[in-house]
């Protein structure tokens, strides 16, 4: 850690860890309801466990993004944060918002609009937090007067994320129109501006971990961003099949979303070639595992498994089945969970006392158990989903009967999800095992300057 104020990142990461753990509790509960019967039918029905599961995901990933940004921006701009106090106020507000939303969901207090269930007051607090955050970061960069491309991509990603939340604040009389704009937020986040955020973290990590040349890395970052938006914006149309919008969205969605994997292939090649050409220049090999892992797992989960059902003539049969859950889990985990875990793993040795820079065996167990577990979960959803598509959608078997026939895949889901949970539990344990200690060192700074001037 080179700047004292970077230590705020620790508290954001700590909150993210707790929420991540809770997310899995509600995920496992939801999965066990797939097997049924449900002893909690009138205490904690599926709709409640599911809404808490997805909302915790969004909240912890965003908490991670914020923490990682507070960590990265001082490094890039070579300065202290504008205001540490504001960063803490923002965190407290954010946690209050998140916790009260979750408690509300237990009592069915929500909008009942998928992924945007937060009641209006909570949405407004979200906006306030975003504004504090952007102001704080913006002022930091302005005061420093040093603004790197990597940072610029991150900033534009964060600002546009906030802007794209705006349609979610409005009310729509027509259900189809509300679906139309819901995807402006959800799709353009995960397949648009969040990819910029991920790309920026990826570039930052690769530049620090490998000896790769900043000039070259940032040039390719631009190319990746271009590819993301060429395909991703019009690719929104893959959510416009079958919901009551004009038919021309079908070929547009098919064509452009089929191009979306190009950016993900780009990211994977980017990560691979940086390491191959420039080699390691940093002892934190565990962070490198998470970094490369994120690039590769998102190529699999988002690119390959997204492509698998994005063409209209395929999606016609798979739409609204467990195939969607298969892709959603692998894509979200690979792209956003893993990149946050990569940033945490990179930052942690200088935020805690007595942690070896190169990682320990617990850290590797956490990594591989999560990878294996999530891969197994993806396969379980895939096999369940394929069974469902054939039995229910193609052969015409009733929904409930088809679900009974695919029970064995739910058993497999619970088994692999438990494996995944062990991996996450190890990660969380490893996170809290070493007490926080914020040690500012200038050694790395000088070597970084030396490298930059070569």
């Amino acid at each position: 850690m080179r700047y004292k104020s970077q230590s705020v990142a620790y508290w954001y990461f700590a909150v993210a860890m707790v929420l991540f753990g809770l997310q899995l509790v509600f995920g496992l509960l939801s999965a066990s309801k797939y097997l049924g019967p449900d002893p909690l039918l009138y205490i904690l029905p599926f709709d409640v466990t599911k809404v808490i599961h997805t909302n915790l995901l969004i909240v912890w990933v965003l908490t991670g993004f914020m923490g990682a940004t507070y960590w990265m921006v001082p490094d890039e701009s070579r300065t202290e944060l504008h205001s540490v106090k504001l960063a803490y106020i923002q965190l407290v507000l954010w946690v209050l918002m998140g916790v009260s939303a979750i408690i509300g969901y237990l009592f069915r207090f929500g909008t009942g609009n998928k992924l945007l269930e937060q009641p209006l007051p909570h949405k407004i607090v979200i906006v306030i937090c975003m504004l504090i955050f952007l102001y704080n970061i913006g002022m930091t960069i302005k005061k420093a007067g040093r603004f790197t491309t990597t940072e610029g991509v991150l900033m534009i990603g964060l600002v546009t994320s906030a802007l794209l939340f705006f349609p979610a604040l409005l009310h729509y009389e027509n259900y189809t129109v509300s679906i139309f704009y819901r995807w402006w937020t959800i799709h353009l986040w995960v397949e648009g501006v969040w990819m910029m955020i991920m790309g920026a973290f990826l570039a930052y990590l690769l530049i620090r971990l490998s000896g790769a040349d900043r000039e070259v890395m940032e040039k390719w970052l631009y190319v990746i961003v271009g590819l993301v938006f060429i395909a991703g914006i019009l690719g929104t149309a893959h959510h416009y099949y079958w919901v009551g919008v004009p038919t021309y969205w079908l070929p547009i969605g098919g064509l452009f979303s089929a191009l979306e994997p190009a950016a993900l292939v780009g990211m994977a090649m980017y990560a691979y070639s940086a390491i191959r050409r420039a080699g390691m220049s940093h002892p934190n090999k565990l962070a490198l595992h998470w970094t490369i892992g994120s690039a590769l797992f998102s190529l699999f989960g988002a690119g390959l498994l997204g492509l698998a059902h994005t063409w209209p003539s395929v999606n016609k049969w798979t739409h609204g089945t467990l195939i969607t859950a298969m892709h959603g889990h692998a894509a979200f985990y690979g792209a956003y969970a893993m990149i946050v875990l990569a940033m945490i793993t990179y930052a942690l040795p200088s935020l805690t006392r007595g942690r070896p820079e190169e990682g320990n065996s617990l850290g590797y167990w956490a990594f591989w158990l999560q990878i294996a577990g999530m891969f197994g979960m993806t396969l379980s959803f895939a096999t369940a989903g394929i069974g469902q598509v054939y039995l229910e959608r193609i052969m015409g078997m009733g929904y409930l009967d088809a679900q009974l026939k695919i029970q064995v895949h739910f058993l497999m889901l619970i088994a692999t999800a438990s494996l995944f949970t062990v991996g996450v539990a190890l990660f969380i344990y490893d996170f809290f095992r070493h007490a926080p200690a914020f040690i500012v060192d200038n050694q790395e700074e000088t070597s970084a300057v030396a490298r930059a001037s070569v």
Binding site: S30, K33, Y34, L35, G36, P37, D38, L41, Y42, P45, F46, D47, V48, K50, V51, R108, G112, N113, K114, T149, E173, N174, Y175, T176, V177, I179, F180, E218, K219, Y222, V223, G226, F229, I230, I233, L234, W242, V243, G244, P246, T247, Y248, W249, L250, I252, K316, G320, T321, T324, E392, R393, I394, M395, G396, M397, G398, Y399, L400, D401, Q403
Partner: protein, 283 residues
């Protein structure tokens, strides 16, 4: 390619895509009204939509294929189930499904009668949205394999010489074969609620052994309708479902059968004949 060119590529690509996307969005707004029958969004439909949101239905079900995957898709539910059935179901799902058998049960939601009625109006509005004909084949809530699941029979065209099971039925076919076709193509399709497998009761009782059962009903004292023979009884059950009620809380309430009415108007005399001929063959 240098750094500046790369940046211009990123900005240019984004700007062009965003412009095209916005233009198409404007055009879509021109068409939303017609595609969704926006003129039929009455206050009742709007209230029904609020009910849908308030009770968090989307975190178990899908609607237009969007939602959670834990409970059946409801896009076309009002075309598969009559209003009376849906009313009764929403009051107490446990009357209809057994958690031991299906391993899942919808928790009772304690909706008011007004909420139920409006929710059904909303779902009915949804079912009429022009959504490119999705789902391509009806998504049923319950039922095992039904004869209608064969693609060949309903889709193949222009192969007149193929054996009867491998091509669509034509007017020259046996009336019972034509009746079987009506059984799965009528709107709402009969096979959405009735199976022809012994013991497989769905939303409606199984029609396996119907002819035998009908003959028994006709001679029993409890029969209140006016049919004289088996085909007459079947015809009566189709056009006037409440003429004779099969016992069971899941089939009727207050003397009204849950089976949808209106087949007297949507089916021709000839189709009714074929249907009766087909069903009378289920001994």
């Amino acid at each position: 390619m240098n750094n500046r060119q790369a940046r211009n590529f990123a900005i240019g690509a984004t700007a062009v895509s965003a412009l095209v996307f916005l233009a198409l969005t404007l055009d879509s707004h021109r068409q939303f009204g017609k595609l969704t029958n926006a003129d039929q969004i009455t206050p009742q439909v709007t209230h029904g939509k609020d009910v849908w949101h308030k009770y968090n239905c989307i975190n178990c079900h899908t609607l237009l294929g969007e939602g959670a995957y834990y409970a059946p898709d409801l896009t076309k539910i009002t075309q598969h189930r009559g209003e009376a059935y849906l009313q009764a179901y929403m009051r107490d799902p446990a009357q209809f499904y057994d958690e031991k058998k299906h391993r899942r049960l919808m928790p009772k939601q304690d909706l008011s009668d007004q909420e139920i009625t409006d929710l059904i109006a909303f779902l009915d509005w949804v079912s009429k949205i022009d959504n490119q004909g999705w789902p391509p084949r009806p998504i049923l809530v319950t039922g095992s394999f039904v004869p209608g699941a064969d693609t060949i029979g309903s889709h193949a065209t222009g192969e007149e010489s193929a054996p009867s099971a491998a091509r669509p039925v034509t007017a020259e076919d046996d009336p019972r074969a034509q009746g079987e076709h009506v059984f799965r193509t009528a709107v709402p399709a009969c096979n959405a609620c009735h199976s022809t497998a012994p013991g497989a009761d769905m939303a409606g009782p199984t029609l396996a052994g119907l002819a035998t059962r009908a003959a028994e009903i006709l001679t029993s004292d409890s029969y209140t309708g006016s049919a004289k023979d088996v085909e007459g009884y079947i015809r009566e059950s189709i056009v006037n479902p409440s003429a004779h009620l099969i016992p069971g809380k899941m089939y009727s309430a207050n003397g009204t059968s849950f089976m949808p009415t209106g087949y007297d108007k949507s089916l021709t005399q000839e189709q009714l004949d074929h249907l009766a001929a087909y069903l009378a063959s289920l001994k």
